[in-house]
């Protein structure tokens, strides 16, 4: 019996993925657990393993974006017949898929409604089909914009959002003229038409990751944020770090970042309003500090998460950090590495940046920007002395965190770094 390989849901909220390439060809033998294809989700590119053994009979979708649950390939026995129409799950199969993957939120429900309508339409062709057509005509077509292929092409080329264009064609279809008019008026086009590339300009299409970065950071920009800054005396912290390095044995050498992660975890549990996700109609306060570390990778930025930092020693945090950073740079992160974060730390100290403001990582309520540690003249007990100083800037989503709450949290982080014993 052939097994249909469907696009898996690799993480919460994943609706679709982009198949980058197949690692096996049609006709190849495949063992369960063997890497089968590379999948680009909005967070990572990863190899997906075969969930059946046999012969790869058919690759239904060779590349491109695919909805979760859609059949992308068939594995079976050599010579087995494959139904040619394996692309659309139908009947019971569709029901199973959607039941298995029932989830909160509207997209899945909308899809299920579409399927239900399709099933009813095929059962009673005449009336139901008419009803379906009528509903589609009334704009009930699941949000699909009616536009001619030419209008779509022009919109694509000029970066015009079709949903912002009023259609004047039959049944409200957007035709080329409508797009031209919108382009000319310039008003509803959210993306300005880029000038034609000149000599020497390299045009890089956005990868899934870059699109996600763009979407999420634009989203973040809408949040009402405020920043709080402190300067930390790093004398004790550096001594502690030095001791830990001397004692690290075969483990990973701890860094200042690891120390900051650890003390943040302790402070977050004392100020749980900061260890929170803002959900629009609720704020979720988390009992564990799952701290995301912003990692620069060759083609963008990822934020792998170290789970339960409050329970981990600095050495354990260092080991976990080294592991995710290495995998991030190798492009080997799994979806699970990126999920569940409750707070993010972004450190540009190693680049000599003394202070900066990090952009919120929604739905998290706060993000900490860590600067470099610099020798600075400061006044201690009436004397000017030189001390290692580090600036921290906390960006808070004011919908979840108030100024005083943020200040108390940041005050504790400062205190713990200046006197690590307080964090015990």
């Amino acid at each position: 019996m052939a097994t249909e390989i469907k696009l898996p849901r690799l993480g919460q909220g994943m609706e679709s993925g982009t198949i980058v390439k197949w690692l096996k060809s049609e006709g190849d033998k495949v063992e369960k657990g063997e890497p089968l294809y590379e999948l680009d989700t909005d967070k990572v590119t990863q190899e997906v393993e075969a969930d059946a053994s046999g012969v790869l009979l058919k690759i239904a979708i060779t590349e491109g974006e695919v909805e979760v649950g859609k059949t992308i390939a068939v594995i079976g026995e050599q010579g087995e017949e494959v139904a040619t129409d394996v692309q659309e799950p139908s009947g019971e199969a569709a029901r199973e898929v959607s039941d298995d993957e029932q989830e909160e939120g509207t997209p899945a429900r909308a899809r299920e409604q579409e399927r239900e309508r399709g099933r009813r339409a095929s059962a009673e062709p005449s009336e139901q089909a008419a009803a379906m057509r009528a509903s589609a005509e009334n704009g009930g077509g699941g949000g699909r914009i009616k536009a001619s292929p030419l209008a779509r092409r022009i919109a694509r080329e000029r970066g015009i959002d079709l949903s912002a264009v009023a259609g004047t064609g039959p049944e409200g279809r957007v035709v080329a003229e409508d797009v031209e008019r919108t382009a000319a008026s310039g008003a509803p086009a959210p993306i300005a038409a880029p000038p034609a590339p000149t000599e020497g300009v390299e045009v890089e299409q956005l990868s899934s990751m870059r699109k996600t970065i763009a979407r999420r950071l634009t989203e973040a920009w809408q949040a009402p944020v405020f920043q709080l800054g402190v300067t930390v005396d790093m004398g004790r912290a550096l001594e502690l770090r030095q001791r830990l390095v001397e004692m690290h044995g075969n483990g990973v050498k701890p860094t200042i970042s690891d120390l900051v992660t650890k003390v943040c975890a302790t402070a977050l549990l004392r100020h749980r309003a900061v260890n929170a996700l803002y959900r629009g109609d609720a704020v979720e306060l988390y009992p564990t500090a799952n701290i995301g570390i912003a990692v620069a990778v060759p083609n963008g930025l990822v934020v792998p998460v170290i789970q339960g930092c409050e329970r981990k020693s600095i050495a354990e945090i260092a080991a976990a950090r080294a592991s995710v950073v290495e995998r991030a740079r190798a492009g080997k992160l799994q979806q699970a590495d990126l999920e569940g974060g409750t707070f993010t730390i972004s450190n540009l100290g190693m680049f000599g940046i003394e202070r900066f403001i990090a952009v919120l990582n929604p739905p998290q309520a706060a993000i900490l920007a860590v600067g470099s540690t610099e020798e600075k003249p400061v006044v201690v007990e009436g004397e000017v002395v030189v001390r290692p100083r580090m600036e921290l800037t906390l960006t808070c989503d004011h919908r979840a965190v108030d100024g005083a709450t943020g200040a108390e949290f940041l005050g504790d982080v400062k205190a713990f770094l200046e006197e690590p014993g307080l964090a015990l």
Partner: protein, 330 residues
């Protein structure tokens, strides 16, 4: 330049080929003394004699088979099937024999036969004498199919068909025989597989065959009064099809109407629509409109026949539909 009718242009191509080349001859029912039921071969018996202008028994299968046999023996016969409705009787010979021998003999045989036939409505000949069956033959690999719409085209295309080494089914339209136009003194062969742009336009392309070419030109004239610029393209050869010409026209106008007299369902226009949507998908600003006869046997009654088959008005309405205008203004 002499003025020739479509009928005379057909005769001119036949006669010139027969004068030039002893291998060419014509055969068919009542084509000799009577000159064919449409008068196309009138006078040819006198010039070429009964050996080369041959009357045949009233058996389309026999005459088609004989023509195919002659072609396989090296002749270039032109067989007349009096009405294309009667192609049904010769279909075994055309589809299973003529279309296949070159392929099945591994190229050792060729079948350079031309089946001339005519049909179409407009003079109330009834359900068995007015059909348009060209699409059937376009479906058969091994055949070429021509449908000429003007005197110049019919002459140049028939010449090329006679001298093509493959079997050609050559469609003429009954109502076009009287159509006159000036044609060049010299017969200019028109290559098979080359479309003709009758009229250039910017807004909508009408791809039309046979009688509908003239209806489309009339509709284009009407549309022009409304400020709509229509391009009219006649593929002329349905197989091989000049896909590039059709696609590039639609890429220019972004809208397409396909028009023929045959019924719309499974008509030649369906194939053209498929070619256009594939080749010009990102250039289409409206669904491709099809114009053709209603899906019914044709009635005898003239008013009913007229209602069933498409005319310039139908083409015009389709043009306006591609522009998102519900009806023409008149």
């Amino acid at each position: 330049m002499p003025e020739l009718s479509y009928r005379e242009a057909v005769r001119d191509a036949l006669s010139r080929a027969m004068r030039q080349d002893d291998d060419v001859f014509v055969m068919g029912e009542d084509i000799a003394e009577m000159g064919g039921s449409m008068g196309v071969t009138q006078g040819m018996l006198d010039e070429f004699g009964p050996e080369r202008v041959r009357n045949t028994p009233i058996s389309e299968m026999a005459l088609a088979g004989a023509a195919i046999g002659a072609a396989m023996q090296g002749m270039r016969p032109v067989a007349e099937i009096m009405y294309e409705d009667f192609l049904t009787l010769a279909t075994e010979q055309i589809v299973n024999q003529a279309a296949k021998h070159r392929y099945m003999s591994g190229g050792q045989l060729t079948v350079p036969v031309t089946f001339r036939t005519q049909g179409g409505s407009g003079w109330s000949p009834g359900a068995q004498h007015a059909q348009q069956l060209e699409a059937w033959f376009v479906h058969i690999p091994g055949l070429k199919v021509v449908f000429a719409s003007t005197p110049t085209d019919v002459r140049g295309l028939l010449w090329s068909s006679i001298y093509d080494d493959n079997p050609v089914v050559f469609f003429e339209h009954r109502t076009l025989y009287g159509l006159k136009e000036e044609v060049p003194d010299e017969l200019e062969p028109i290559p098979l597989g080359k479309a003709r742009v009758h009229r250039e336009g910017e807004d909508v392309t009408v791809i039309a065959t046979g009688r509908l070419v003239h209806e489309a030109i009339a509709a284009a004239g009407e549309a022009e009064h409304e400020g709509v610029s229509v391009e009219v393209v006649d593929p002329r050869t349905l197989q091989p099809l000049d896909e590039d010409a059709l696609i590039s026209s639609v890429k220019k106008t972004n809208r397409c109407v396909v028009a023929h007299e045959a019924v719309t369902r499974m008509g030649f226009g369906a194939e053209v629509a498929a070619v256009i949507q594939y080749g010009a998908f990102d250039w289409l600003d409206a669904p491709i409109e099809r114009v053709g006869a209603k899906f019914t046997p044709l009635p005898f009654a003239p008013v009913m026949e007229e209602w069933c088959v498409p005319h310039a008005d139908d083409v015009l309405e389709a043009i306006y539909r591609t522009l998102g205008r519900a009806e023409s203004s008149n």
